[in-house]
């Protein structure tokens, strides 16, 4: 297999204008380079501020193989620290979440730290007199992640000191988070109902591509949608649809529906699929909720917010957002052939309980390890991960609706089945990998 370390030119050559090389998905070396560069110099979703409501609350989360801690400070700020004692490397906490009180205390030798990572105390202090401890990293407390952005309570980190600013990196796609938050009449979301966690034995990029794949539902999800349609057949259009049917039946829509929903790509790999409408557009209206939205935002703005319900908005490379239902997926790569997918549901302050129910129901039906919709997706991703080892063809086709003019454009609005929404991800991948590898070869 080709060696890629120290060869940014070879890495760049894996992404052609209309196709990508299989090593993007298969190579462990490429995966290690992604961990070192792509996931360090881009803005990656860590968690939601509502997971740490009180001072001392923490969430432990690995990003790109580095153990991190999101911690609520006494002044209300959210800080991100490395979960590593300055002394010998012990993780300060090994629970996923909790409250550490007013300080962190390493369980190994009782070194202590303030919530912002500053050193508090060490036992046998006299033993360090005349040593270089205070002059080196180990004496300065916990290492801090310097580049943290809390955007409307969504917490992102950039681990590297180099890379674009948060606003430059995401640009217009931030409107998708705005829309999700604005759907709360009080402008406030909180995570609720726990997180569904899936282990998928495929490369993370395959999962992220599929979030923008509008041509697979007809064939991939045929068994689930046919079963749903058969069960619902013969009912009067006036029959109230159970929420599960309301959410599953649109998966059976045809190519024309998915093409017409439209898509938009932005610089750096981000996208909005379903700029015109989506499978989420026809959920039942809730008059009391609409009234609350109008009271909060005014009639016109409330209508604009509620009318916009894209299929998926991708914050490359780690997050996919749905404003309606209020749900996100987080993509956490574990190895070249292993990816953790998290599905989180949100409560919108001031909105009826039914909205939260929709979020949980959708996640359970579509993103649970027991989901009948996801089973076929997961099977096919795992099938691709094996199939790509075949001889004869080392490339993955992304040709649909390719147009050379797109190479010179950053924001493009196009038809919903254009594979531009995937090509755009890979172009961002190549750019970010090259930038990282050239800066720190």
């Amino acid at each position: 297999m080709t060696s890629y370390r120290h060869h940014p030119d070879r890495v760049a050559a894996l992404v052609q204008n209309d196709r990508v090389h299989r090593d993007l998905y298969l190579s462990e070396e490429i995966f290690a380079l992604e961990q070192a560069h792509l996931f360090a110099n881009t803005w990656v979703y860590l968690g939601h501020a509502s997971q740490v409501p009180e001072p001392g609350d923490f969430v432990a989360q690995d990003i790109a193989g580095r153990p991190l801690l999101m911690v609520r400070q006494p002044d209300g700020a959210v800080h991100v620290l490395y979960n590593r004692c300055a002394h010998k490397g012990t993780q300060l906490v090994t629970d996923e979440s909790g409250n550490t009180g007013r300080f962190f205390r390493c369980p190994y030798h009782a070194w202590t730290y303030k919530l912002d990572g500053a050193p508090l105390g060490v036992p046998l202090k006299n033993g360090y007199e005349g040593t270089q401890l205070k002059a080196c990293e180990s004496g300065r407390g916990l290492s801090v992640v310097k580049h943290v952005k809390v955007y409307r309570d969504f917490v992102f980190v950039r681990l590297s000191d180099t890379g674009p600013s948060f606003e430059d990196y995401f640009g217009e796609v931030l409107g998708a988070i705005d829309n999700m938050v604005d759907r709360s009449p009080e402008g406030k979301l909180s995570v609720g109902g726990g997180v569904l966690r899936n282990i998928v034995h495929c490369n993370w990029k395959m999962y992220l591509e599929n979030i923008n794949d509008t041509v697979h539902p007809m064939s991939t999800h045929e068994s689930a949608t046919k079963a749903a349609e058969a069960l619902w057949e013969g009912r009067a259009p006036t029959d109230p649809k159970p929420m599960a049917m309301e959410q599953i039946l649109p998966f059976g829509s045809g190519y024309e529906f998915f093409d017409k929903m439209g898509g938009r790509v932005f610089a750096n790999g981000h996208s909005v699929l379903g700029v015109n409408f989506s499978i989420h557009s026809n959920y039942a209206q809730l008059p009391a909720y609409e009234a609350a939205m109008q009271a909060a935002h005014g009639a016109q703005r409330a209508a604009d917010i509620l009318q916009r319900s894209p299929q998926n908005s991708v914050f490359y490379p780690s997050l996919s957002v749905k404003g309606s239902p209020q749900a996100i997926r987080v993509i956490r790569p574990l190895a070249a052939n292993r990816t953790l997918i998290e599905a989180w549901s949100f409560r919108a302050a001031g909105a009826p309980a039914l909205l939260f129910e929709r979020a949980m129901s959708y996640n359970r039906l579509v993103f649970s390890p027991m989901s009948v919709v996801a089973h076929d997706d997961v099977h096919l991703f795992e099938s691709i991960q094996r199939g790509l080892h075949a001889g004869g063809n080392e490339w993955v086709s992304l040709h649909r609706n390719y147009d050379a003019a797109e190479l010179a454009q950053s924001t493009v609005t196009t038809n919903g089945t254009n594979e531009l929404l995937m090509r755009n991800q890979f172009r961002a991948w190549a750019k970010s990998m090259a930038a990282g590898m050239e800066a720190a070869p």
Binding site: G193, N198, H201, S223, E357, P369, A374, H375
Partner: protein, 154 residues
């Protein structure tokens, strides 16, 4: 089948034999199948999410899908083995009974095998045709961990 403990054993045997229609027929019309995300600690299916919370309509959808040759993820097909400990009757009154059955569950497909453990909690109601399942709740030991696809019925 008068002893409700026999219903629990039969239910598992039908699943392991892939007799899903016969299995579904054990459920009452208002019956539910529930795998809470917090396992035994979860109070209800509404305040917190679940790996599955399905009424007969959704269970029927699952069963019907498995019959479709284009259920791609069933090539090769999954097979299950429930290993049940003796069921214990927790409460029996007024034609209703609650049982607890600790279990191991193995789901095998191709070269892969998943092992889950926990306690099944059956709520049965007496009908003219015998006991029917009003709720089958599965409290997994580790429901909140990252899981691979679980394709059949625990």
């Amino acid at each position: 089948m008068n002893d409700p403990r026999d219903v629990v054993a039969r239910e598992a045997a039908l699943l392991d034999a892939r007799r899903f229609d016969d299995w579904l027929a054990l459920f009452a019309d208002d019956g539910h199948y529930w795998v809470p995300l917090l396992g035994a600690a979860q109070a209800d299916p509404f305040s917190h999410n679940s790996l599955a919370y399905e009424d007969r309509l959704l269970l029927q959808l699952r069963v019907d899908r498995l019959k479709n040759p284009r259920a791609h993820s069933q090539h090769p097909a999954s097979r299950s083995q429930h290993v049940l400990q003796a069921s214990r009757i927790e409460d029996e009154s007024g034609g209703e009974v609650h049982l607890r059955t600790p279990f191991l569950y193995i789901e095998a497909r191709g070269e892969d095998q998943i092992l889950l453990s926990g306690t099944a909690r059956h709520h049965l109601v007496r009908t003219p045709a015998g006991w029917a399942i009003r709720e089958k709740r599965i409290d997994l030991l580790d429901a909140a961990r990252a899981l691979p696809a679980i394709q059949l019925f625990i």
